[in-house]
Point group: C2
Chain length 420, copies 2
């Protein structure tokens, strides 16, 4: 700890303060003692640390699960550091070269650009734009020649690569691993070489890929100490069991409508509430402790704590007023079992309506209460669709709409028709 002795007592206190904030909620920091040194260097030199996060360009819908790392980034920014956001457009543009898997579809440059804009608009709800830099990794990766790629590949052994959990599992059970797959961790690591990152953030499922950054920085003989991995816990979704993810439909998207966010938050299992608070809100360590004690001692009702959390999420992503409205809506619909105070108006042109009535499934899609005819049909089968509180049972019913009709899907989706 050479730097440490050069710090004044005040500077040492500052390092300790930053450490406490950064370490909160982190599952693992590798190597742990190096973080203090990095912070000491930063405090001493006045140089902000470069904190990296890689983004998947194919999935720009950010949900509360993602905000675990985003909040950590925001904390770094509040402590004076800089964030490097890397859009993995190079990987995304390539798709899956085997052409056999449908899991990773090839993105066009336009897709990537549009997704990046969507990202930006969402991310700035959490991050400080002044301290955020965006990068596209194609800008360095597409420049690599075959020679460079071979050099990169020469930095790691096959055995080491096969230690990655999923590779080890597939190799052990004779599932094919195509050789190009080895390059995904290598590319992620090379990003850290290219940007000289000091710290990289990610979920614990990214451990192997994130450690690759330090390995490659050392292999490329980067000056100074290699990057530190800060690995955040994975947040369980609404089911309370599996990692929050869009494909499992157990997520709360930060771009969802206020009532959706509010309602979904209210469905979080009680035992996860403190974890959500700790990892995805601006709550201070002191407030967190208070909340925890209150819940344990029974002076705070879990339902109230959850209402406050739901309120907080809507406030964060839609503002104070929307939070109030969503709160009232929730109380009205779910607690009084009546229609909400406010129902969003959907405008339809008379020309969009069919003579003899509009087919119900198509209507639900047109007014965006459902995303497809198939989804609409399933909702009807499940008895979740109502018009003016009358349940629809026939998938093929044709509805003659009038101004002010209220359509409802499930407990949280409403629309008030306005015919123009």
């Amino acid at each position: 700890m050479g730097q440490w002795d050069q710090l004044t007592e005040q500077q040492q206190n500052e390092v300790e303060r930053q450490l406490r904030i950064i370490c909160r909620g982190a599952a693992k920091i590798v190597p742990e003692d190096a973080l203090k040194q990095k912070l000491a260097y930063s405090v001493l030199s006045g140089q902000p640390l470069r904190v990296k996060l890689g983004l998947d360009p194919s999935a720009p819908d950010i949900h509360i699960g993602h905000t675990v790392v985003l909040y950590k980034l925001r904390q770094f920014q509040d402590l004076g550091h800089e964030v490097q956001l890397i859009i993995g457009d190079f990987t995304g543009r390539i798709g899956d070269p085997t052409g056999k898997s449908e899991t990773r579809k090839q993105l066009t440059e336009a897709d990537v650009k549009r997704n990046a804009e969507t990202y930006q608009q969402q991310l700035y709800k959490i991050l400080n734009p002044q301290k955020t830099k965006f990068y596209y990794n194609s800008s360095w990766l597409s420049q690599l020649k075959f020679e460079d790629v071979l050099q990169l590949a020469g930095k790691l052994t096959v055995a080491r690569m096969l230690e990655r959990d999923d590779f080890a599992k597939r190799f052990g059970s004779n599932q094919p691993i195509h050789i190009h797959e080895f390059f995904y961790p290598l590319m992620q690591g090379y990003d850290s070489v290219s940007l000289q990152s000091d710290i990289e953030l990610g979920g614990t499922d990214q451990t192997f890929n994130i450690l690759m950054g330090r390995t490659l920085q050392e292999a490329y003989e980067m000056k100074g100490d290699g990057q530190i991995a800060i690995l955040m816990p994975l947040l369980e979704g609404l089911d309370g069991i599996q990692k929050m993810s869009k494909s499992l439909s157990n997520y709360i998207g930060i771009d969802e409508m206020p009532n959706e966010i509010f309602g979904k938050t209210m469905s979080i299992p009680d035992q996860l509430m403190l974890k959500y608070y700790e990892l995805t809100t601006a709550i201070t360590n002191e407030e967190l402790l208070e909340l925890k004690q209150g819940l344990q001692e029974g002076t705070i009702h879990p339902r109230d704590a959850k209402l406050k959390l739901a309120n907080e999420y809507v406030r964060m992503y839609h503002g104070e007023r929307a939070a109030e409205e969503a709160h009232n809506h929730f109380v009205t619909v779910f607690q009084k079992r009546a229609l909400p105070d406010y129902i969003e108006e959907v405008r339809l042109r008379a020309s969009e309506l069919e003579d003899g009535g509009t087919w119900i499934s198509k209507l639900l899609v047109t007014i965006k209460l459902q995303s497809s005819n198939g989804e609409a049909k399933r909702s009807i089968t499940q008895g979740a669709v109502k018009i003016n509180e009358r349940k629809i049972t026939d998938q093929n019913e044709r509805v003659v709409l009038q101004d002010g009709d209220i359509l409802q899907v499930g407990k949280r989706k409403f629309a008030r028709i306005k015919i123009e």
Copy 2:
């Protein structure tokens, strides 16, 4: 065998004739039945087949061991086919990217060019220049972008690659395999894609790499049937046990002096003689059979057969007259234990001679009878060095040379001094 029925009887006979010549001596042909189809196609269409051989740009000294495949190529040319010689300059230029191994040293472009010229001059002693095309694999490999490299890597699984003997052994015994090493077979295979080769030749130790050509041609959906591997046996060197190789000093280089080639050939173990004849000379199948029978029945003395082989090698690489002289030299020196008829003259400038005599070890190096002082000293210790048939016993002896002095090392190296 769709093509076969379209051939006239004469054409079918031609295919059979070519098959007999091509199959002679081959250790393995993969896939075997496809060769007949390729030949049938060639005879029917009048299109020559493209027969590929990869050359290592770092080792341009061709020895009799190499001529096993070169002779096979010559047979293809004599049957009307074309030879593709690929100088692996891309691989050679890269060297070993780990930077840890000394086995593969990095070549400059000038090295590669000079080596290629040396190759050409030696190869044309065997091959027909009219039917030989040279290629540098850098011309396509250096054009590959990262995307292309990933696509190439995606064509093969890790498990399949680890089936290669040396990889399997190293992986099994926890010896490191660096990921870039996977690209050497992939690059060799990609060469076949790029040149649309019909056939690739190599030693049996190249089996995995050569089969890669067909695999990749299919993966890249090349038109027509993929290439066929013709794998030739490895030729044991003068020790009769290990594969002939320069590093083991058990080789006969085709650029060596006539007397060296002759003498070394005479030291081949008797039991390997027929293999040398079969794989590295123009002997016909009929003559080979005759020789075999003669040796078995005792009507041909092994020594005579070997003299003829030695004669043949010198004739092939230095011409008729050199063969006669080397033969006479050998008989004189080794059979009559006298000096040879012809001793090469070495010219020395008077200024190269030291007053008070020239140090014997240094002299042997200067006139190129020995390659280093160390080697010279060892030869003296072993009693192998003579001046005018007087044995030298003192490593530090200083010799006062006169015109016409004859220096000798061992049984085969002579020099007659000419002072200018």
